[in-house]
């Protein structure tokens, strides 16, 4: 069984800019795969390479075992949900959804029935006669989704699909997309710069930076064991401890990541159990964030951010507190 999408040493250069630089990756059938990275990291170019809008400068791409380079987008069994939805304004919602089928030459009655069916699947029953301009952003997004899914693609590409929606709608769509993917079993490839979106929806995440994949794996794995300072910083937030500090406080002599929620407050006079290490310092800032309070504690050589559950004690800026963590929560990283 060949992987759904396979990149072998793929590069895409624009002049001197290496948008994608020697990327190798396998996306498996039925996977919900997320490409996560800051803007300009190459994730969107990778998506466009799969769709066929870009051709690799070097390397080899296979889609279900079939060589993809040289194949135009309209010959690939891959469909895209665009960031700006790219609906056709001169067609009704129903015609938009049926477009791919019309091009394939499916008879009118059949394609209209299929379009209605797919619209119902994305919860837009009864919207087929409207124009895209009469829909809200969330509804347009669903039309874009239906327009791609009606063609029963082997791979669905989603380019920042939720970027333009507000927070509540975004969370709702995350759930729905994930449920839809499970139900259909189609391989989804999601491009996003929102780490929360990638972590909550995907089975596997690839973190992009400067045209390369710096780490890939299941979300929990990437979150718990960031391999580099970049990943530790970009996926969630993290205390990146210098080697000397880490070695003196339970870790090894390496750049080390310590998640803020793994740091706890030590009560006055409490003795630290074995395996725990601590520091004390002055609170430089305390930010109340509802469920947690985020405090920054100033030390001689570094500063530690801790996420403390709210309601236990009130912490004032300027007071001195003691912090502690389990040695096992210190994650040594390969690179700074």
């Amino acid at each position: 069984m060949p992987p759904a999408v396979s990149f072998q040493h793929v590069s895409r250069h624009f002049g001197h800019v290496k948008a994608v630089d020697d990327v190798s990756l396998d996306i498996f059938e039925g996977e919900f795969f997320a490409m996560l990275g800051p803007s300009g990291s190459g994730k969107t170019t990778c998506l466009r390479l799969i769709a066929g809008f870009e051709q690799p400068t070097s390397g080899h791409i296979e889609i279900f075992g079939e060589t993809a380079e040289g194949l135009p987008p309209y010959r690939r069994n891959v469909n895209t949900v665009f960031q700006d939805y790219a609906l056709f304004p001169h067609m009704t919602v129903g015609e938009n959804v049926a477009y791919g089928l019309m091009i394939k030459g499916v008879a009118r009655a059949e394609r209209e029935a299929k379009a209605l069916e797919t619209l119902a699947m994305v919860k837009l029953k009864g919207f087929d006669q409207r124009r895209p301009s009469q829909l809200s952003g969330g509804q347009r997004q669903r039309v874009a989704l239906a327009r791609a899914l009606v063609n029963q693609p082997k791979v669905l590409l989603l380019d920042e699909p939720l970027g333009a929606l507000d927070l509540k709608l975004r969370e709702q769509m995350q759930e729905e997309l994930k449920a839809l993917q499970k139900e259909l079993g189609i391989t989804f490839v999601l491009v996003t710069h929102d780490q929360g979106e990638a972590l909550s929806m995907a089975n596997r995440v690839a973190i992009f930076n400067e045209g390369k994949i710096v780490q890939a794996g299941p979300p929990a794995d990437v979150y718990e064991h960031p391999r580099s300072r970049f990943v530790a910083d970009f996926v969630g937030s993290s205390n990146v401890l210098p080697p000397e500090f880490a070695a003196a406080h339970g870790g090894t002599h390496a750049w080390t990541s310590l998640r803020p929620e793994k740091v706890r407050l030590v009560r006055a006079g409490e003795a630290l159990p074995a395996g725990q290490f601590g520091v004390s310092g002055r609170v430089a800032s305390a930010l109340y964030q509802g469920a947690i309070t985020r405090i920054a504690v100033e030390l001689n050589s570094t500063r530690i951010i801790a996420a403390i559950p709210t309601g236990m004690t009130t912490i004032q800026e300027g007071e001195t507190v003691a912090l502690a963590w389990d040695a096992c929560n210190l994650v040594a990283m390969e690179a700074a």
């Binding site: 309209y74 469909n79 665009f82 001169h90 477009y99 019309m102 124009r131 063609n151």
Partner: protein
């Protein structure tokens, strides 16, 4: 009615004066198409008649040649302009290269250039290349400024298309031709129609460039010019003038409404 403050009296008078200055001569053209006095334009006309309409229709075969030539030239020049203008606009729409703005200016220049310059330039070019005057030399001259009108209209509409819409069409399985037919053309068609009608109207009553590129042939405007120089049956010229007004004004009016509708619906109407 004095419900809202209007313009001052002198301003109103100036506006009315301006309108009269523009349109009274047109009204006179219509009036003298129906006069019974043939030799001189005396005011008021002694009396009115429909005689000249029948004269123009039945007794003046010399009108038909120029009318036919003018229509033929206008249609051909408009067709050439539609194809080349749309292609040029499509090419420059998404391209980014050094000198793009200068190139765009070169496309628009022919309409800003005095017709007499275009005319002389074309005439000497035909001369150098020893191309004999024909319908096609007139068509070529007219196409220079007709392309501009279509190009401008098409480019304005292209700029409102989202490039990802074309990618979406290709992504959904359509090749280039299908994408043009189903996605691009429906969205630019009203702009093309408007541009084409303007081009037609511009070509139909063009005199200056035509004078240099027609040789011995006479288009309708040239025929009229000749009629004024050596008049016979003067009111017949006025009848022809009415035809010219109708043939040029109606397309311009239609173009105006077509583009106006386009503004409101963002190209999603029809």
């Amino acid at each position: 009615m004095r419900s809202e403050p209007g313009a001052s009296v002198p301003l109103k008078a100036a506006a009315v004066g301006g309108l009269l200055f523009l349109h009274l001569p047109l009204a006179l053209i219509f009036l003298y198409a129906f006069t019974t006095e043939e030799k001189s334009f005396q005011f008021p006309p002694p009396s009115l008649t429909l005689h000249w309409l029948s004269v123009a229709w039945f007794d003046r075969p010399d009108i038909w040649g120029p009318l036919w030539l003018s229509l033929k030239v206008a249609v051909l020049a408009t067709l050439i302009a539609l194809i080349l203008g749309t292609l040029a606009a499509a090419a420059l729409w998404r391209a980014r290269f050094f000198g793009k703005d200068s190139l765009s200016l070169l496309f628009i220049l022919p309409i800003a250039l005095p017709g007499i310059i275009t005319g002389i330039a074309l005439r000497s070019a035909f001369d150098i290349m020893s191309i004999p005057f024909s319908t096609w030399t007139i068509v070529l001259g007219h196409a220079t400024f007709c392309i501009v009108v279509v190009y401008n209209n098409a480019l304005a509409r292209f700029r409102r298309l989202s490039p990802s819409m074309i990618e979406a069409s290709v992504d959904l399985g359509a090749n280039g031709a299908q994408t043009f037919r189903h996605v691009i053309l429906p969205q630019i068609s009203s702009a093309l129609l408007a541009g084409g009608m303007l081009a037609f109207a511009l070509s139909f009553d063009e005199v200056i460039v035509t004078t240099f590129t027609a040789g011995q042939q006479a288009t309708l405007p040239i025929w009229m010019l000749n009629e004024l120089i050596r008049p016979r049956q003067r009111p017949v010229t006025n009848v022809v003038a009415m035809i010219v007004i109708a043939v040029t004004f109606l397309p311009i009016l239609a173009a105006y409404y077509l583009t106006r509708e386009g503004e409101h619906t963002g190209g999603s109407g029809r």
